[in-house]
Subunit: 327 residues, 2 copies
């Protein structure tokens, strides 16, 4: 009983910070930020009014200390990463953020941890226009479960690809995987490398803008959380297809080659945690998509043959790993 009780803890660090009348919520918050929340934190349930005529998209992810983030990392950064990783699932479905819940398990009630964590969560929530509507705090080994819900008109599912569709990825790959040794302190990078690693690992950018832009053209898509090679296999199996990738076209994030040397391609192909989008586009939409000048790169095509085949300059190429496995 070293810290405040559960109810005081929730009220102090979360309720007040996420109330519409709280000081922190007064700026940069559009009217959509509280939209549809009839009753937020503090009752048996939150009461929510879903937007008329739209589907809801919902996803839940748990981050366990020393599995998904270093236990002694800055709590502000842990909160940022936890919420952004979940928001990425909404982006990957082409859904607009509405609400989220937080189930937080903590070894002890420590204000020095809770204050920056709650601040990181509130700032991230405000930036992406999503409202905390409920939660639970329990005593136990540190872990964070966040469930996000969004409104969806034009969903980007995994199962809509056809043979011949072109495979794209957004932005560049490999940053978070290359960053990990620096974030974990196993490698001491230059100051520039450390800043870059910090941004890549703790502040991944959910690809809402790309998802909205491609929504009417893409036949299937997902976010790359476990590594491109493993994740594209999900599109393949959901769509009953295979894929062929031209690895020389793979956009590699800055500094990956500098940090990882000869492993740069492997890192870009199998490294997780980038939260870029991988999606497929039928040929008839390629020119309309090109006209949008999005930060996306064509890396291959869907095939009627099952399985994922990789070619490097026309030669078969075999990765050593095939994506992150939790067990």
């Amino acid at each position: 009983m070293a810290g405040p009780g559960e109810f005081e803890l929730i009220r102090e660090y979360f309720t007040s910070r996420f109330q519409p009348d709280a000081e922190t919520a007064s700026s940069a918050v559009g009217p959509e930020f509280e939209q549809g929340v009839e009753l937020g934190i503090g009752d048996d349930c939150a009461l929510l009014i879903p937007p008329a005529g739209k589907r809801l998209a919902t996803s839940v992810d748990t981050l366990v200390a020393d599995v998904h983030f270093p236990a002694h990392a800055d709590p502000y950064r842990i909160a940022s990463r936890a919420l952004r990783v979940n928001l990425s699932d909404l982006a990957a479905m082409n859904a607009d953020p509405l609400w989220f819940t937080l189930a937080l398990t903590l070894p002890q009630s420590d204000p020095n941890w809770l204050e920056p964590f709650a601040r990181g969560l509130a700032e991230t929530a405000r930036r992406f226009g999503i409202t905390l509507v409920g939660g639970d705090t329990t005593r136990g080994p540190l872990s964070i479960t966040i469930q996000v819900t969004g409104a969806c008109e034009n969903p980007l599912r995994r199962d809509g690809a056809s043979a011949g569709d072109t495979v794209f990825v957004s932005n560049k790959l490999g940053a978070a995987a290359a960053a990990l040794p620096i974030v974990l302190g196993r490698v001491t990078g230059s100051e520039q490398q450390q800043q870059w690693a910090d941004a890549a690992y703790y502040f991944p950018e959910p690809q809402f803008a790309v998802a909205r832009a491609i929504g009417q053209y893409a036949s299937a898509g997902l976010d790359i959380s476990d590594g491109l090679l493993g994740d594209i296999a999900h599109i393949c199996s959901a769509s009953g297809l295979g894929a062929e990738l031209q690895l020389e076209t793979l956009p590699q994030a800055e500094l990956v080659a500098e940090i990882n040397g000869g492993d740069a391609l492997e890192t870009a192909l199998t490294g997780g945690d980038d939260y870029q989008l991988c999606f497929t586009v039928p040929e008839k939409h390629l020119s309309a998509l090109a006209a949008l000048q999005l930060p996306i790169t064509a890396i291959g095509r869907m095939t009627a043959d099952q399985g994922v085949r990789c070619l490097l300059n026309g030669e078969p190429w075999q990765a050593r790993g095939n994506g992150y496995r939790h067990f």
Copy 2:
């Protein structure tokens, strides 16, 4: 890498078991069981179609091994308790079950644990007409986070009570708290006591029937998860009131006195985990409510004076504890 990978694990134990065409889902499942689920487990998000013209009620709870249940308990019973505890929050809001998600953290991927856990979850879900629509499995210390969502027309909030309203509880109190020493093996009860303790602790009954019946009459309400004394204080603070309880009227569960002896009243008043409802009713509705012959008992009234006062046969009475605290 002793067990199957994460994706195989999810597919094997949850997806197939909860698919509408699965063998287990073919009986006793009404059409409402899959209602509104456009896309369930297996994509970045579930896609859900909310019922038109209703609010959504949502609640999340985490159960941590050796905090909220014995780590070595029967996985079938752990699943039952985890889902029922969450369903109780829907009942307490007078919401009808729609969907739930499961975030499961496990030390290892053990089929001998997962099979009965998934079976317990599926059977409980089917009984209460709620559909598993998504989840996450991670490696770490055993804990279970479930988020339930329901449809709500006539919400039972905490903040609607008025001074003079009568305070009721459903059924009887103290069973789960009295059961705990037996469940934990600290006390060896008779065979009858052991069966009773098992039912009270692992199979608490979400009070949907009572909630629906009182919905149009109750001014405020919640479920008693942390003990009546602590939980009625939430109605008091949310409604800006106090309460006065006549303890001689408190309905005590069978065997509480037999097991707990002189502590029976204390157990019924402060013991958690019963998941009965506590609610308030304005005087004008008392006769209509009485005509329904529900399993409820009047135990006191709301007062303009703040705080919760307990009287036993007219004399002030002071509990030693005031409800469960997680920290």
